[in-house]
């Protein structure tokens, strides 16, 4: 199967500081990647760079074996999606309009959204449990509802590689699991892949097949999650002692509270 995305010797620098040096990454269809690292390690910059929104400081990013910058915007949008960490609805639009906007890259220039597309957007909203709020204006949504509306738009966009920057922000535990299920169902498939920035290491280790650890000083580790995301490596990465214990549903990581002082 062909590689969806590949980076070669990718460098990311920000304000004179090297965040990531010489990254070689291969994302294959069917994989679920999770990016882990401390605040400011460059996770968001990495996602924006991979999406072609920020220039790389060095190296190459290939999407479908073509340099990302060479792809026409509409074609790129059909292959690659990104849900930002923060969003601002801007002007008054409805939840349904937002979901519909995901289909832009597939529409003809003068074409209006047809009934099939409206139905598809409504189904996406139903999947993220927003069916009742489709006529609601975005400004009136809660933080978690807005997050789910963005995921609905991603489902409509249906890219081959879906990247989400902390998609579980603002979501309660039930919604976190529900959204991960939706994302898995849509994007961890034979011809698609998922890349998530997460802070919950238990969810990360549970859902991901692969992990990219970013140390924020240029260093990185990437590979299958069992190999690179063991408890000692994660303690070192996140700069806080963690411990592992066995639960009924498998090994769980926990903060070692003996150092917390409370």
């Amino acid at each position: 199967m062909s590689t969806l995305m590949q980076t070669r010797q990718l460098d990311i620098r920000c304000g004179g500081k090297t965040l990531l040096g010489g990254l070689d990454l291969q994302i294959q269809p069917g994989q679920c990647w999770v990016v882990l690292g401390r605040n400011g390690a460059g996770k968001t910059s990495l996602l924006k760079t991979l999406a072609g929104l920020l220039p790389a400081s060095g190296g190459e990013i290939m999407l479908d074996d073509r340099p990302i910058g060479r792809l026409p915007p509409k074609q790129r949008a059909q292959r690659l999606g990104l849900v930002f960490q923060h969003s601002d609805p801007g002007f008054h639009t409805s939840t349904l309009e937002m979901a519909l906007s995901g289909g832009y890259a597939r529409r003809g220039h003068w074409a209006w959204e047809n009934a099939g597309e409206v139905l598809q957007a409504q189904q996406a909203l139903a999947e993220v449990r927003l069916a009742d709020l489709q006529q609601q204006s975005l400004e009136s949504l809660s933080g978690g509802e807005l997050r789910r509306a963005e995921i609905a738009r991603l489902l409509v966009q249906a890219p081959a590689l879906a990247m989400l920057d902390e998609p579980l922000n603002h979501l309660d535990i039930g919604q976190q699991i529900a959204m991960l299920q939706v994302l898995r169902r849509h994007f961890v498939a034979s011809d698609r892949a998922l890349l998530l920035v997460l802070h919950d290491i238990n969810l990360a280790r549970r859902i991901a097949s692969h992990a990219l650890l970013m140390y924020g000083d240029g260093h990185w580790r990437a590979g299958p999650v069992q190999q690179v995301a063991d408890i000692h490596t994660l303690s070192d990465l996140l700069g806080y002692p963690l411990q592992q214990f066995d639960s009924d549903s498998g090994p769980m990581a926990s903060i070692d509270f003996s150092h917390a002082g409370f």
Binding site: K48, L53, G90, F91, T93, G102, Q135, S137
Partner: protein, 331 residues
Amino acid sequence: MGMSQTLNKRAQALLGAGLALGAASLLLSLLIGSADIGPSEVLRHLLGDDGSINDRIIDQLRLPRSLSAFAVGGVLALAGALMQVLLRNPLGDPYVLGVSGGAAAAVLLGMLLSLPLLWLTPLAFAGALLSMLLVFALGHRGEQGDTTRLLLTGVVMAAGWSALISLTLSLSPPLQLPGMLFWLMGDLSDALSPWPTLGVLALGLLLAMWLAPQLNLAVYGLQQAAVLGVDPRRLRVQLYFLASLLTAAAVSVAGAIGFVGLVTPHLVRLLGASDHRILLPVSVLFGGSLLVLADSAARTLISPMQLPVGVLTAVLGVPVFLWLLSSARHR
């Protein structure tokens, strides 16, 4: 398929209201004036030519002026709608980036130097163009999607032009001052033929409609639009130049008429249009109508004297806008 399926009732109602308002305002503007001409007579003069005084009043005075007003109002509303998306700021208006300031400074300098009247329109356009290019060159760097820098550059440039305008006014002989002030407040009495402006309006609307699907994405931010398949840099440049050129055209015809460009797109948004394929044409119709009504009032309220139409647009626009804003609820 096609428009009808998703062109919902609200959009149809808005387009219908805009068309009706446009027709009604134009007709009304032909009816009122110092010469008393009834509706049937107006229609007769519009359709035929009987060589009478009234015929000439309709065909050569009122109609061209009303059409000019409509075109300028439409252009300003369109420019405002585009500027608000470009700056992602509902307070964006055609003048916020200093385009009108450049035009005004150039025209006032021309008046101070007693240049022929015919020069003033090209002079205004040149001033607007100069300001536009300056702001673009200085404010258009920076990160993708960063509009703060552009906005700040424009606002600072506008302040600079404003100082130059004040300087020119203070140096001008008292006899020239009223003419200058009128120009500053916006005035349609010098508008000659409406056709060039109507042409600008038609072309501008066509180009804007071409951009409309991308504008629907740009409201979520240019980076988000880029993720969904828009070239953000190109869209920003296209938006900037289209909005600025439209503003320059309006300013050179009628001076700096305030409020139409700010209030009209806002009003149309508050009435429920968020799709730019609806919002843009409805804004044009509403903006044109607003200026036709304001201009009719400006030339008749204290006739034979004329008021600057910019004062009237504010007097009409402010209460309507405030009322809409306070009665708008979250849906």
